[in-house]
């Protein structure tokens, strides 16, 4: 039995080798990387084509009563920007941006020291334990994170219980921006930490020792040595965490009790309640453009600043 298996296995490999010999000659070898990429390119094209299709839908009129598409027009964008509905959509967008940016700032500020501990600790056990703890929220899923915070923040939840031990009777934190903020921090902080780590790891510990020997306070070492040298990681963390939070759905829906809708919630309602793919397309694209600008503009400024600094240093 085992022999037939090995025999079969080798015959299979011989077959593959023979096929390889036939296929190998020059022209195919040149096409090899493109052939390897073909399945992935085809797969991602679902998204690329889908986004183009959004663009096409978003520039059409739509009769919500007859549920019929009309001619090419800027009607959907007018709905987003002009009264009576415009202010609501703009307010939603602003709320999304404000809370996402706050969460991103908080996550990076907390992520820096945690990344530092993971990098500099001599204990492998502590490092692995922290890595495990940081990866779990990312992999447990949005809905489970939301459920966990619901149990914590709800009226008869864990926070309420702790508060009642101190004689405080409150109605829980559901429906407040604080609840949504804390919920979003649970995944954002680990993510920021993991993204800052690679850059921070390249910092030579001797630089910190040198700064300390020269009399710099810990705060000064952080401001003048660690943070400037961690910039690539910090920028990566800001981009990824911001993109993640800007599309948040569950936390505002459940923890915010729907009182603080994010763009994603409103887009979901536009589809589920109004069945309007056209307006949804326009709002999705608006979010895509805004998030791209938020990422690209500071990114370009940062690159420009780096180049300027390098040029100035070369001149000196």
């Amino acid at each position: 039995m085992a022999e037939t298996y090995t025999g079969l296995r080798w015959r299979l490999i011989d077959g593959l080798i023979a096929a390889g010999r036939v296929l190998r000659p020059g022209r195919i070898a040149k096409a090899q990387p493109y052939l390897l990429l073909l399945p992935a390119v085809l797969l991602v094209s679902f998204l690329a084509v889908g986004l183009l299709w959004l663009g096409w839908l978003s520039i059409h009129a739509y009769d919500t009563f007859l549920m019929q598409a009309g001619k090419i027009s800027a009607e959907q964008y007018a709905l987003l920007f002009e009264p009576p509905s415009g202010p609501f959509y703009q307010q939603t967008l602003l709320r999304t941006l404000a809370l996402s940016l706050t969460v991103t700032a908080g996550a990076v500020l907390l992520g820096l020291p945690v990344a530092y501990v993971i990098i500099r600790t001599p204990s492998r056990a502590l490092r692995v334990a922290l890595l495990v703890l940081l990866l779990v929220p990312f992999l447990m899923g949005e809905i489970v994170r939301t459920f966990a915070w619901y149990l914590i923040l709800a009226n008869r939840g864990a926070v309420g219980w702790v508060a009642s031990l101190f004689g405080i009777e409150d109605g829980g934190l559901l429906g407040t921006p604080i609840g949504v903020f804390v919920g979003m921090m649970q995944v954002s902080t680990p993510l920021a930490t993991l993204l800052i780590m690679p850059a921070m790891r390249r910092i030579d510990p001797n630089l910190e020792r040198a700064a300390a020997t020269l009399g710099a306070s810990p705060a000064r070492i952080w401001a003048n040595v660690i943070v400037p040298l961690s910039w690539p990681g910090i920028v990566a963390a800001i981009i990824v965490v911001l993109l993640l939070n800007i599309a948040e759905y569950d936390m505002p829906a459940i923890l915010g009790l729907g009182r603080l809708p994010f763009v994603a919630n409103v887009i979901g309602d536009i589809y589920r309640l109004q069945q309007n793919l056209y307006l949804g397309s326009a709002f999705s694209l608006l979010l895509l453009v805004v998030s791209t600008l938020l990422v690209v503009v500071p990114g370009l400024l940062f690159l420009g600043w780096l180049r300027f600094r390098r040029a100035r240093r070369a001149a000196a």
């Binding site: 399945p39 703890l133 589809y271």
Partner: protein, 262 residues
Amino acid sequence: MRGPVIRLSLAFVILLVAVPLAIVLVASVSGGERLTFPPESLSLNPYRALVGNDEIRAALGRSLIVGFQVVALSLIAGVPAAIALVRFRFRFRFGLGIYMILGVATPLIASAFAFLALFTQMGALGALWPISVGITIVNLPFLMFSVASSLFSLDPRLEEAAATLGAEGVQTFLFVTLPGIMPGILSGTLMVFVLGISEFVISLLLFTINIQTLPIAMFASMRGPPPPEVAAAAGLYVLAAVLVVITLTSLKSTEQFFYRAD
């Protein structure tokens, strides 16, 4: 490093991350009709309720199917693509690399809406595969990064040595490259699997009432006070995530991935 600010931030982050995990696990073994904190008693009732609830059980089955479809699609697309981008130099390499991360660079709700618009046009809504395709596209980079980091740490001279010793291209790939990048493939596979079974926003836009996945069913039941079986489902997700993360760290490739100890 021993500064009070650092210690305080570390303690805060540990609480921020660990408390929700503990709460879910405690809730998943609580007795009583309603979930309260602290639980009235401990029991396995939520898990029994999960098994007894046909709708939730069917949703769990669908989520597992989606998970396996996502793994299959990610492997077929991601592994060869990662090899091409790391081991070959060719025209449009940079552009194609950027194209591959389109799914993570686009806000998730915009991607989900793009899938919704496209699959509605194709008349494909109502099946599970559009959900799997969407989830695969937005998570593909995680598998590719994982495979690529294995490829980076695999010395290309090993492959050259095999070739010098007369191994054919196919042989080199099967006996040198593939075993060398197996840890990366495995950790990437585990990652896209758990991300696949727990994905929410894409499923939310693409589901029809007969094909609710587990996260959607959980969301629907959280409109009111959540029933115990939801706590059990959440407990299963936490356990799956913990198991996967422990496997990842013991594979060492994750530690290498985030913390390259060279």
